[in-house]
């Protein structure tokens, strides 16, 4: 954690207006994210856990610059992305990529995979040998070039998630944000995708932010994690420690909810 973070949130709050109660009076606001600090460095995998509605997805909207926070700073390489000018913004856009939850919905069904992979490069105006880059990235995610001419429906869920990861890697990002990247996949395929993400961190020095509601998934993949609830970070630490000695009641609830085969067989899982 000593390293200089690449992407950082400082005291970030995001509020959304709720429907007015009466005719008069101020609109009540909902704090979807409430005064959160969060950071990721190169070669580091950070987990973000919490039940649904905790504010995880809202947090990723701040991290990816899709929404500007009500207050607080979003820093990329130490400088605020909202105030540091066009060049810095462009650099930020290239350097932070996402992988979303549902692989079937992540790729345009009418676009060949090869075309989808080139999209980020074209959109971000990145020069260079695109074909070589595609070949390189396909190698990194363990797919072969035959995939390029096909359409998404010709792949299984696990393969599609690899393709989505490949697309995220195309512009050589420094941070990859994965929002529930395995919850739509079968168990044996989940393992393949988590292992892939983990090796990208060690091999490419990527910063990884892994969002999940299952603490055991995060524990496998990351070395540090934050637990969110009601828009706030309620606890931080190495996931195994969070798991063995949860301090906050919200962490405790997540830990209790983790089902494992052993706990199930011991008859304790549903107590």
């Amino acid at each position: 954690m000593s390293e200089q973070p690449i992407l950082e949130l400082r005291g970030v709050t995001q509020e959304y207006p709720l429907p007015r109660r009466g005719l008069l009076g101020a609109r009540p606001m909902l704090k979807a994210v409430d005064d959160v600090d969060f950071a990721v460095a190169a070669g580091q995998a950070v987990g973000l856990v919490g039940e649904s509605g905790a504010g995880k997805t809202t947090l990723t909207r701040m991290l990816t610059g899709v929404e500007q926070p009500t207050s607080g700073d979003v820093l990329f390489e130490g400088r605020n992305i909202w105030t540091s000018g066009q060049d810095h913004w462009l650099n930020f856009r290239r350097s932070v990529q996402v992988v979303l939850q549902n692989p079937r919905s992540s790729l345009d069904p009418r676009m060949r995979v090869g075309h989808s992979l080139l999209e980020p490069l074209r959109s971000l105006g990145i020069e260079g040998d695109h074909r070589a880059r595609v070949a390189e990235v396909l190698g990194q995610v363990g797919l072969d070039a035959a995939a390029l001419d096909k359409f998404p429906h010709q792949f299984s869920g696990g393969q599609l998630q690899r393709i989505a990861i490949a697309r995220g890697l195309m512009p050589r990002p420094r941070v990859l944000i994965a929002d529930e990247p395995v919850s739509a996949l079968d168990v044996s395929i989940q393992a393949q995708v988590l292992n892939l993400l983990k090796s990208l961190v060690t091999d490419l020095g990527l910063g990884l932010i892994l969002i999940a509601h299952d603490l055991s998934v995060v524990a496998y993949t990351t070395s540090a994690a934050a637990v969110m609830s009601g828009g706030r970070v309620v606890e931080r630490g190495p996931p195994l420690e969070l798991f063995r000695a949860p301090q906050a009641p919200e962490t405790r609830a997540l830990v209790d909810a983790v089902l494992t085969v052993e706990r199930g067989l011991a008859g304790k899982a549903l107590e």
């Binding site: 990816t64 996402v98 549902n102 992540s106 345009d108 959109s123 072969d144 035959a146 010709q154 697309r167």
Partner: protein, 287 residues
């Protein structure tokens, strides 16, 4: 951890002949073919009265389908009518498709205020009976094919807006759109390259269905006298003349009636068939 990227190709599925598609195609193509021929050749003059040859029966040499009360050749009139139907149908359906797509895509991708404005306006337009619009237009600009097309467009566009908007929204909520935004694609690019190709099927199907509806509405308007007038000819006009002059039971009314039924049926079957063929759920089914 490299794995073969391809699922082996599915064995060629015995394509069950899609019956409605086949019948629809045959009917629609014959209709288009007849209209096309009418551009170069008509067996007689559809507007030239010939008092000596009035009300000739079906099968008369020189007048295959017979003649009407004024002795005008019915086959020629039917062929001219097909041409009008296509002009009005294609005109009305494509103009409303165009307008409906622009407005529908705009409503789907813009903010709430724009969306609400467009949709509420569409609702209001939908609540005005089409015949009222047609009468007002006919009274203002005079009746004719052009006015009919404008009336049809006013009448159909709101429904197109609804269909296109909801189809577009179902694409816009997909993760690939979110991903495209994240790597910096703008709204127009997303609409053109992601949304349009994914709703093209819906658009084509809607087009055939509204083409058919346009033909029906045009027939209705001409029948009421606010559609097409001579020297242009439409099937609705033929129906109306036949009824005024000799009563509906005559074969004079049967021919244009039959033409309308066959063409509308053909286009509807074609639309249904296309819907089945292009159903993304069927197309997207894993190999």
């Amino acid at each position: 951890m490299t794995e073969a990227a391809d699922i082996p190709a599915a064995p060629r599925r015995r394509r069950k002949l899609n019956v409605s598609l086949a019948i629809g195609l045959v009917l629609t193509l014959s209709f288009l073919g007849i209209a096309f021929v009418s551009l170069f050749h008509l067996p007689g003059d559809p507007n030239m009265p010939d008092v000596r040859n009035r009300l000739l029966p079906f099968g008369t040499p020189g007048h295959l389908f017979g003649t009407d009360v004024l002795g005008r050749d019915i086959l020629s009139q039917l062929m001219m009518g097909a041409r009008t139907s296509i002009m009005v149908g294609v005109g009305g359906a494509s103009l409303s498709l165009l307008l409906g797509s622009v407005l529908g895509l705009w409503a789907a991708s813009a903010g709430r205020v724009t969306d609400e404005t467009i949709m509420r306006t569409a609702d209001i337009l939908l609540s005005i009976p089409g015949i009222v619009t047609a009468l007002v237009l006919a009274a203002t600009f005079g009746s004719g094919a052009g006015t009919t097309i404008v009336a049809l467009t006013a009448f159909f566009t709101p429904s197109f807006v609804r269909v296109i908007r909801s189809a577009a929204i179902s694409v816009l909520v997909e993760d690939f759109v979110t991903a495209a935004r994240l790597y910096g694609r703008g709204r127009l690019f997303i609409l053109a390259r992601h949304v349009l190709p994914n709703i093209a099927g819906v658009m084509i199907v809607q087009f055939t269905l509204y083409f058919a509806a346009a033909i029906l509405v045009e027939a209705g308007l001409s029948y009421l006298g606010v559609g097409v007038n001579r020297p242009s000819i439409s099937w609705g006009l033929m129906l109306s003349e036949a009824q005024q002059q000799v009563g509906v039971s005559s074969p004079l009314a049967m021919w244009p009636g039959l033409a309308i039924v066959l063409v509308v049926l053909g286009l509807n079957l074609l639309g249904d068939g296309l819907r089945d063929v292009m159903d993304p759920k069927l197309a997207r089914r894993g190999a």
